[in-house]
């Protein structure tokens, strides 16, 4: 299936969970279709075709 990761199209196998897409558990956060998903829920959050995932970390700013 095809999803958007940080705005870029990406082909991932079906099925694929958010936890499989993002291997890190510390220092990153993820939103699925605009909703923040807590790290503890990533493994049982299944991705669907057309989903938009945002994966963020801390950068210099402010």
């Amino acid at each position: 299936m095809k999803i958007l990761v940080n705005g870029d199209p990406r082909e991932v196998p079906t099925p694929c969970s958010l936890g499989e897409l993002v291997p890190h558990r510390s220092g990153v956060a993820a939103a699925l279709n605009g909703n923040v998903i807590r790290g503890m829920d990533w493994d049982h959050t299944a991705l669907s075709d057309g989903d938009a995932v945002e994966v963020l970390t801390a950068f210099q700013g402010g």
Partner: protein
């Protein structure tokens, strides 16, 4: 000074944007000895944690994620939630920008986002205009501090209306942190003399000719201003007042 559940020992807080390298940032952190260090939440190109996070952990500094660049309450709330997830802190420097040219806060959206985040368990530190009425609304919404701007972000104009900062100071019982506009050490000292509890400086350090030296200067200025405030300045007079006694002068 207590901010939420964190004891913040240094009254100089720093932003991290604009430095060319993490090595320089490390030296700036060591020179500033900051109470809190702000960071922005941005997309991770490799879906992993940034080198900045490793540096902040190595230097044992408390991190203050911000919602910089957010143009709506909804976007700011979600960015705050992402910051909490990534960094494991419930502190957030809340910015809801109302105008991309001036970067002034949208105070209506700010109060709305603050209310939502406080209900969600956040310790909210809002970047706001130097307006005592808005400051009171933010405290009523449950904010742990208020962060009035001295002048526009990155402008280096200092505190263009010192009496406005004094009015904010008088209006609220929570810590007041001067945010935005600091250009050099005297601006930071003035903020503290006006009664602020801390100063957040970013551009003043990161775009200085010598960022590490400026970080040290601001640290000293904040300490000096804080002590001067506690010492109590003399009243301003319109005429001279002799400091030597007039009595006992010789007949010459």
């Amino acid at each position: 000074m207590r901010i939420g559940t964190i004891e913040v020992t240094s009254r100089l807080w720093i932003g991290t944007g604009g430095l060319s390298s993490l090595a320089t940032l490390r030296d700036v952190i060591d020179a500033a000895d900051p109470g809190l260090v702000t960071v922005s939440m941005r997309r991770s190109s490799d879906l992993g944690p940034s080198g900045l996070i490793a540096l902040l952990r190595e230097r044992h500094v408390d991190v203050l994620p911000n919602t910089a660049g957010c143009l709506s309450a909804r976007e700011a709330v979600r960015t705050a939630q992402l910051g909490r997830e990534a960094l494991g802190t419930s502190l957030v420097k809340l910015e809801v920008i109302g105008d991309e040219r001036s970067l002034l806060p949208d105070v209506v959206g700010l109060v709305s986002a603050a209310t939502e985040l406080v209900a969600d368990g956040f310790t909210v530190l809002p970047y706001t205009t130097a307006d005592p009425v808005v400051a009171r609304r933010l405290v009523d919404a449950g904010c742990a501090a208020v962060m009035p701007l001295g002048s526009p972000i990155g402008s280096g104009l200092g505190i263009t209306d010192p009496s406005a900062i004094e009015r904010v100071r008088a209006a609220v019982d929570v810590p007041v942190v001067l945010d935005a506009g600091i250009g050099t050490a005297s601006d930071a000292a003035l903020a503290m003399e006006l009664g602020c509890d801390a100063v957040l400086a970013a551009t003043a350090i990161t775009r200085a000719e010598q960022p590490v030296a400026m970080a040290k200067a601001l640290r000293l200025a904040v300490m000096a201003g804080h002590r001067a405030r506690a010492a109590g300045r003399i009243p301003r007079l319109t005429e001279a007042r002799p400091s030597s006694p007039m009595a006992g002068r010789a007949a010459l």
